[in-house]
């Protein structure tokens, strides 16, 4: 692993990484990275663990290793306005719909271990995500501190998982595999 690069929340404003000739706003990169907004991207799964910067101190210092910078540089980024300094993330599964919202089982994406559960209100779910609220639906909930134009504020974000529409090739592949398995398996 290469030596970490020390940056601070102030110094990274508008910083660009140009190693692979792509312009990149690191604020948005981290927002993306932390929130996993592109969870279906397999490249994201290969990124190094982020314990180092989760433990960033209260002054907003972030330690970035070169491989992380490079990894971030390789992914395309959606728009996101805030830069998060400390975040806890969960993978939630709705277990019950209630009058005001829903209850969910939560897997700790930072530390693993035991699960948790909590109550969520419909008002916390974005308009776009509301149709996705149903028993068994999967969502990401992140809670952290955002640096919004210099002022730090707590922020809770819920985003529902959108599974990609599988292509006919994907489905054909599953069908082929099932057929092959059907021929190979023996049943009593």
């Amino acid at each position: 692993m290469t030596e970490p690069t020390m940056v601070t929340s102030n110094s990274i404003q508008n910083r660009r990484i140009t190693e692979s000739r792509k312009l990149l706003d690191i604020d948005k990169a981290f927002a993306f990275y932390i929130h996993g907004l592109k969870d279906q991207n397999e490249d994201l799964l290969k990124l190094p663990k982020h314990n180092q910067w989760i433990e960033a101190d209260s002054k907003g210092k972030i330690i970035l290793t070169e491989d992380r910078l490079n990894a971030i540089n390789e992914i395309s980024l959606p728009e996101h306005p805030n830069y998060y300094t400390l975040t806890q993330r969960w993978l939630g599964t709705i277990t019950e719909i209630t009058q005001d919202g829903f209850n969910a089982k939560l897997e700790d994406l930072n530390a693993g271990g035991t699960n948790e559960y909590a109550e969520f209100f419909s008002t916390e779910v974005s308009k776009d995500d509301k149709p996705l609220v149903s028993i068994g639906a999967v969502f990401y909930w992140s809670l952290g501190y955002a640096n919004d134009k210099g002022s730090v504020k707590k922020e809770s974000i819920i985003r529902f998982q959108r599974l990609p529409q599988w292509s006919s090739e994907d489905i054909d592949s599953a069908v082929d595999k099932a057929r092959a398995q059907s021929k190979a398996l023996k049943w009593l």
Binding site: E55, S58, L86, Q88, L91, T93, T95, K105, L106, E107, D108, A111, G112, G113, T114, N115, E116, Y117, A118, E119, S134, I135, G136, A137, V138, L143, G144, Y145, K154, S156, L163, P164, Q165, W166, D170, I171, A174, V175, K177, A178, R179, Q181, S182, A184, L185, K186, W187, L188
Partner: protein, 365 residues
């Protein structure tokens, strides 16, 4: 008695050990059928270590899992009954694998493969898919569980295991459900299975003059040809002259798994009842504990059904953020409870000896 040290049972001892976890992480039953022949029903994991708890138990007492585990039964695909079962099956190299697919096996296999397109390890069908791959590699037949089927037979005078469910009616309904689920795949890219409990595999164990019933999560159905009513009315393998002295109470002691006729017609007056609570749903309810206590003085649970609210330890600033943003957040606390029952099955009048470990306890001493 509290277990201080686990040990292997002697060859003439049948052991039925319920491993259950507080917090809804699951339950599993490890069975010694005599002469170092073992079977395992379901699996669950320790969330901290990721270990399959029945596999961990078998290894801890020195069972040669590769050769001595003869049968693994997956009663249904809920996470609290299936997590870690693929790892267990992989280690138990001589074991048969038994579960209840729909009658149309091709459709079932397609359903499992389509589920894998989600590329997530969180869905329980991933465990199924891995088990299917292991069975395919070994070339050993998978045993389909169904009503009144012998799924393990160690000899004329030795122990046997029968599946009591799912019934033909349930399997027929399952076919329709699988078709419906497959139809949803292309339109939604998301499959939510409905009611796996109804397809649960309940089991009858016989050993010498003794018998035991393991209720899985099987429920009472509106259809008399499904669930417990079907078993009571139509089972050909249950003998009214050989009532069971051991009952794994179905579905965490929930009222939808309770049928008075089970206790009156299938179980002895002194039958032992064991259950695993499901804390998140606060199962079993106090009123059901009272109901079960009326049927038996030997009611055991792997842990208490209630646990005080508790939050996980985290960075203090995150704890503060959680307190402000989500005060309802609570940890599903994990603790492993074990209820071990042993009986000398060569003696007709023998009684069960019940021991507990961890938070497991005798509910109505």
């Amino acid at each position: 008695m509290v277990i201080e040290q686990f040990d292997l049972p002697l060859n003439n001892i049948v052991e039925i050990t319920l491993i259950g976890t507080a917090g809804g992480y699951g339950e599993s039953i490890v069975i010694h059928l005599g002469d170092q022949n073992w079977a395992v029903v379901d699996s669950c994991k320790d969330p901290h270590t990721g270990l399959s708890l029945p596999l961990d138990y078998l290894n801890s007492i020195g069972v040669d899992v590769a050769n001595q585990v003869k049968l693994i039964v997956c009663t249904h695909w809920h996470n609290d009954h299936i997590k870690g079962i693929a790892n267990l099956f992989a280690e138990c190299k001589q074991s048969d694998f038994c579960f209840a697919p729909s009658t149309d096996v091709d459709k079932f296999l397609l359903f499992v493969q389509l589920e894998q397109l989600k590329k997530s390890d969180s869905q329980s069908t991933t465990e199924f898919a891995k088990c299917l791959e292991i069975a395919e590699t070994r070339g050993k037949p998978i045993i389909r569980a169904m009503q009144d089927r012998t799924i393990l037979n160690l000899g004329d005078d030795s122990s046997k295991i029968y599946s009591l469910s799912p019934s033909d009616a349930t399997l027929k309904a399952y076919d329709i459900e699988i078709s419906s689920l497959i139809d949803k795949v292309s339109s939604m890219g998301r499959i939510i299975s409905e009611g796996p409990n109804s397809k649960s595999v309940a089991l009858l164990l016989t050993f010498g003059k003794h018998s035991a019933i393991l209720g899985a999560d099987l429920e009472i159905s509106d259809n008399k040809f499904e669930g417990w009513i079907n078993i009571l009315d139509n089972s050909k393998v249950i003998s009214p002259n050989n009532k069971a002295s051991f009952f794994k109470i179905p579905h965490h002691g929930s009222s939808n798994g309770y049928e008075i006729r089970v206790w009156e017609e299938l179980l002895t007056d002194t039958a032992i009842g064991k259950l695993t609570p499901y804390n998140k749903s606060k199962l079993p309810r106090d009123e059901m504990i009272a109901v079960y206590s009326n049927h038996t003085k030997h009611l055991y649970a792997t842990s208490s059904s209630t646990s005080g609210p508790k939050s996980k330890k985290r960075d203090r600033s995150i704890e503060k953020a959680i307190k402000d943003a989500r005060p309802s957040l609570q940890e599903l606390r994990f603790s492993k409870g074990i209820i071990r029952s042993r009986i000398d099955y060569t003696i007709d009048e023998a009684d069960w000896l019940v021991d507990t470990y961890g938070p497991a306890y005798h509910v109505n001493p």
